[in-house]
Amino acid sequence: MAKKYTLINGYPEYMRESIKLVEKTRNKRVGKLPKPMTLEERDELLNLCHPDYAPGGKRKISVGVNQGDIAPNEVADLLESKPLVDSKDIDLTKPDFETDLLIIGGGLAGTSAALLANDNGIPAEKILLVNKLRHGDSNSIMAQGGTQAADRPNDSPAIHFIDALGGGHFTNKPEVLKALVEEAPLSIKWLCDLGVLFDREPDGSFTELSGGGTSRKRMHACRDYTGMEELRVIRDEFRSRNIPFLEFYPAIELLTDPENGKVTGALLWGLETKEYMVVKAKATIMATGGFGRLHIRGFPTTNHYGATYDGAVIAYRAGAKLRDTDTVQYHPTGAAYPQQIIGLLLTEKLRTSGAQPLNKKGESFVYPLEPRDVEASAFIRECYINDNGVSTPSGMKGIWLDTPMIDLVKGKGATAKSFPGMIRMFNRFGIDMTKDPVLVFPTLHYQNGGIETDPGGKTNIPGLFVAGEVSGGVHGKNRLMGNSTLDCIVFGRISGVEAAQYIKSCKGKDKLSLNHIDNWNQQLINAKIKSPLKAPILFPEYRGKAVLARMIDIF
């Protein structure tokens, strides 16, 4: 680890030498970009360098609906895990809550779902939104770059459809993707009508930018705080409507009707008080987000602290079908320096605004706006095969992202106006990104696959709906920038409407059981899973090794 280096404006002297090379080529690079890759060149590069395509690190899932499908080891371990509780210890006869709609997870998807269910006839008091952490602690709130919607005259939802399909290597579920792009403009309008402040031009029209793999400018941003602005507005609306919610109560199992397997609620666990709570619900929307904190293949992550795959794990036990479990999105530009912020997101909007990726010699080596999996693979190739990466004091290699170019391309002051969050992050560690480039390396960003859904957010289990990152299919094997916040809002809204309709058709004779976890335990025995983990894990483990070695569990 780190020797003591003398830092000059945040960087050690030896890195400064490489920065000089970047400065030397800067003016010559304005307006000049390497050629985009063909589909064939993209495939070749992915096979060479993308972590999903590297040998090792993954295996076949050996139990459950998706038995035989490939998943990263970290994901397979959780899908083959055993429950945290024994069904015998849980009294389901007196539910703590009896509600119409239970929503698990309060990011953009869950919160949108609550509002639309309420708009569609479910009274506020018959909705319950439960959160593992606080309402809003989510990947949504960290989304920086923007939300896609094809609303300009030279664009169309069909063009958006083709862009997303190509970005996903033509593996997206077409009818779900169609719903995403067709509902996108309506979702942006809905957010505006509730009070979201998207960036505007002086004439009042939206400022819109391109993204990796998009062919039109359709990224709607709120500075570099897009997800935060969207979420805090709809959360404010949610609170104003007095919809009930719980914080620090993660769901640790679903509940099912023993006669038909229908999802009829969930078992919660209080992080503060350690007691369980039983929620009976006519419909349940799973909106628990992704899995970045599993650190697949040892990558750092952009994700929030609770991104541990909980929702997919408990739904899988209840029989939910997953898809595209084999793919993981690595965002090309995670911070690689300084050590305190390794893995944190540097928005793709930096590249769409003119920042170019460069090697240690200050040379441009890849078109800056390839789809994320391609761009990330190009960075890995440049660092580890071409040996042109910049080494950091903590032993990483990285690529320069030449952020001072943004003011050259977009005009002086453009960086300060569009990227206050990024500037703030680097300033805290002594780096001025308007004057110096920043060092980046791919970081684990997004769960491409997930619980399979139809265009209405319905799963293969009656009573269970999904929305947002926990779902799979809409992005295929690789998501484009600006389609995740969009996914959350569109399918949050749709699942809220669909769940409201479903609830109206319910006869109200549902029973509660944990029979499915008893069956699951038997399946684990039949599949000869040796010492399965206990899950959902709820949080990653970052405590110091010396402390863990001496830990005694007394109370």
Binding site: L39, L48, E272, M551
Partner: protein, 255 residues
Amino acid sequence: MAKQEHQNIMDKIASANKSVTTGVDEKDIEHWVTIYIMGDEYKVPADLTIMQAMEFAGFKFTRSCGCRAGFCGACSTVYRLKNDYKLQTDMACQTRVQDGMFLVQIPFAPADKAAYLINEETYQPNIFIKYYPEIARCVSCNTCTKACPQDLQVMDYIQAALRGDFARVAELSFDCIQCGLCAIRCPAEIVHYHVAQLGRRMYSVHGLKKEENVENRVKEIEKGKFNQDFKKFLDMDEQEIKQAYRDQQKSKEVY
């Protein structure tokens, strides 16, 4: 390239990232500082954030930890340095530890949020006083501004709210992460971030014109303008759709 080589690259990447993915191993550490977490002394690696240092010391977070990237406002922390009277505030995930730091995290900021239907409110300057009359108690001490980990001009936007200047409230408060440190420090007991949220929504809904492109596009979609295009693409086989993609990428808009 040999498969083995590809695997080796992945191993190298995993090994370089160990400190942030599996927790810090003290064998690797050369430089240490001493900090005091709620009064108890801990020796921690000098290169960590407050959040990482607390984890190294053995704390497992269930509160006061959210996005870990400076966007969610969960990890508000107050601290003093040795021999310094000044009470400092910051986000634990975005602040490096310093030798002699006495610190505690704030688990929760108690604050009442007014309920309103934003579309039914009128765009009148007195709305701030209507829902948050306590803003009139502001004594302009600027403690809120000093407490803000985002370095926002908090007092200035409260003054703007008193004048009913919606645009100014929205502009000055936009980067607010709603951590609550301003509200906890305020001697006038104002909850600044709720005032700002009301102001931004009012400005967006009542102060800005409807955006024409999106309004038009929503109507076009309702009328089925793009149904033919979708039908064409959904009927294509794989080769045709790949060609459509290639053709479309040629007309790419970049900067």
